[in-house]
Assembly symmetry: C2
Homo-oligomer: 433 residues x 2
């Protein structure tokens, strides 16, 4: 157990700093590393547009078309749960099919705060443990560590996630701990791009409910599907009250807003009082972390939701189109650039999200990433940065959300050059040996 935590020191902790540092050092390198939205439509978020959104929100809040603006209260401290739970709950119901009740929704300073609050509140006892996929989003390991909650990785030996959870519950119990929470990104996982199908979702729900494990479902990428049928989030399939739904406006609107939310189900494992109690604990924790989320940011988000009639589907359309093109460019260039070694290099073909995963025939670490940037002008992310053990040392995450198709093609070509150079030098070493 503690071993798993210690290893996260070497791996998952430094992703964000590393990415920023190396990007600063090689500013002209093409970035297939950063998992951030691309802004092609800045005029929709110009200062004038932000001011317009705030006015739209204020009109909405005052219930009049051009009546009194509740300006003074907007500029003040406000409700810890937020100004706009009704608007956000309505959007989640419309766009993501999640049964979100406005009085079970806490607005947070980005999804990271929601995560951080949930982990701390759901694991109050020193023996409480969080289950995570391996690899997983680095921020969840950081949040766990900040609250001194051990993160236990699910085994990758089985493809059956339910079985892996049962096994983890058992192993956690063996060392005197208790699995309380499972963190999961079921749609277009960061960093692996994995999507759980509906059967897998139902199976995880079943196993977690049986073991009274709360699922923290992070759905940052769910709306970014480029082909195929949308899958219902686990929170929409949840019948036992086991899913806390984490959402964010960082990908749909802008990271700079720092507005996210956690939605608590109507009951917690069938107990309505327990759900209300949990909600109150989350609110209290939030009040001691950041008091409340910027009401200026909330008014901007609220105003855009009002202007968009409660759905962001139309708003994200141009971004979807653009990411779709970038993903296609990456996939087709991968096929071209790696044609000659397609037996040794593998990657997945996600139907959405911001990333894909590539398996390499050799280990790839921070030093390799630096060489890649310096010698070949391309930034990629070693998968080991997201890992709790050595299992991910021969993988990279390639992001297609940050660059235009042309850049992506050049980036993949450059990465292929790096790989063939490295394979050649290894072969030379092997021949000389």
């Amino acid at each position: 157990m503690d071993h798993a935590i210690d290893e996260s020191d070497d791996r998952s902790m430094n992703v964000m700093n590393y990415l920023n540092e190396i990007a600063d050092e090689f500013p002209s390198a093409i970035s297939l590393a950063a998992g951030r939205p691309r802004f092609l439509f800045n005029e929709r978020l110009s200062n004038e547009a932000l001011a317009r959104a705030m006015i739209a929100y204020e009109r909405h809040a005052s219930g009049e078309v051009d009546g009194i603006r509740p300006r003074a209260s907007l500029l003040q401290y406000g409700r810890t749960a937020g100004l706009i739970p009704e608007l956000v709950a309505a959007q989640l119901r419309t766009d993501e099919r999640v049964t979100a009740l406005y009085d079970r929704l806490l607005i947070t300073s980005g999804c990271q705060e929601a995560l951080s609050i949930c982990v701390a509140v759901l694991c109050p006892d020193p023996s409480d443990t969080m289950l995570v996929c391996n690899p997983t989003y680095a921020g969840v390991i950081g949040a766990a560590r900040a609250s001194r909650v051990p993160a236990f990785p699910l085994s990758n030996e089985t493809n059956d996630l339910g079985e892996a959870i049962e096994k983890a519950v058992y192993n956690v119990k063996l060392v005197g701990r208790r699995a309380r929470v499972l963190y999961l990104i079921p749609s277009f996982d960061n960093p692996t791009a994995r999507v759980l199908n509906e059967d897998q979702r139902r199976n995880v729900l079943y196993v977690c409910a049986r073991n009274r494990i709360v699922i923290l479902e992070d759905n940052a990428y769910g709306l970014f599907r480029y082909e195929g049928q949308a899958l219902a989030p686990m929170a929409a399939l949840d019948e036992s009250g086991s899913v806390l739904y984490l959402s964010t406006f960082s990908k749909t609107l802008a990271p700079a807003l720092r507005v996210g939310a956690v939605t608590v189900p109507r009951t917690l494992f069938g107990d309505e009082g327990a759900a209300i109690d949990l909600m109150n604990q989350l609110i209290e924790r939030k009040s001691f972390m950041t008091v409340n989320t910027s009401q200026i940011s909330q008014a901007i988000v609220g105003g855009i939701l009002v202007e968009q009639n409660g759905t962001l589907k139309r708003w994200i359309e141009p971004a979807l189109l653009s990411y779709h093109r970038s993903r296609d460019a990456m996939l087709s260039q991968l096929r071209i650039s790696f044609a000659s070694i397609s037996d040794r290099i593998h990657w997945n073909c996600p139907a959405g999200g911001f990333f894909l995963t590539m398996d390499l025939p050799f280990p790839f670490d921070a030093e390799a990433a630096r060489v890649c940037a310096e010698k070949h002008g391309v930034l990629v992310t070693p998968m080991r940065f997201f890992a709790l053990d050595k299992s991910q040392d021969r993988r990279v995450r390639l992001s297609f959300s940050g660059e235009e198709p042309d850049q992506i093609r050049m980036g993949i070509e450059a990465f292929a050059m790096y790989i063939s150079t490295r394979l050649e030098s290894e072969q030379r070493g092997w021949l000389q040996a």
Copy 2:
């Protein structure tokens, strides 16, 4: 030790919720309870003004008068330490005489986040303990508890704060713990309005440096002085590198921005490497709480600082004038309303801040506050909400920042009615007994 912590459950935890609830229940009651800024100058923070500030910041950041706006990067994720450390450090140097280095300044989602991060990072060991005044700001107790750090109250038996600290260090050591941090609001304390003079400040600095205790100096109210000479913050007097300076724009600009900062000294107890290491730990912790502070809020703050030539002294002038009038109205009405029982009711006369403290001849709790609001139409805050023991049960905090002079006079008169009614009924009870 643990006793002190447990008692905070009953007292200091519910202030914010309580204040909101009772204010909702009696909306027409005059509030002498809320410790929030008053907005008389909303046009300075209109949506147009906010947009103008963002443009001013963007021009400043791009280094051109009307050049390219770095819009896309503003809307993105950004540096964890923030966009505007240089501008904030310059303002702290100018307005508050604090030697703030921009590379030792972390922008936070309000001062509460700064507090929360500092407590967690400075007290990593389960035996680490925080010293607090008693009463103290409720948010610090919450932050301590969220990180499972015990808060140990300084004794009120001596007026010598240095002596109280030495005693606390000793008592904490007796139970196998170690005092690591002291939280202090040396100017116009919340909730007591106490101001430490320069000798007291130097004495606290000396005692803390001797015991290697880091001082978290919260200076939310320092600029709000209505008469007399401004005192240098402790961070400005600090020669040994023991003060982390917490600042906020909630009182000077608007709470809704949620922008605060923590400034680390050049050295930590003379060790420059230790200060840099601490800074990096604070940044890492911040990244796992909220990633970074809203860059929209930061651009607004940055833009106002640019527009105001780096100082907020002129900006807050009208607010100072207004709070000054409200404080004078409160003090003169107190003298009038309590003339007949001036031997039994006492209060302090702070030269600044948002509050004053009143001593009562009977206990005053949440129930009493409710009666006050319901029967007499005035909201006041029981001091016990800020206390770690029973010592504050006969005191109230009266806030003059939230209302106009006329309302304040009516509020004090109403509170005097409550008190005389209660004294009479107690006397009747005594006569009948």
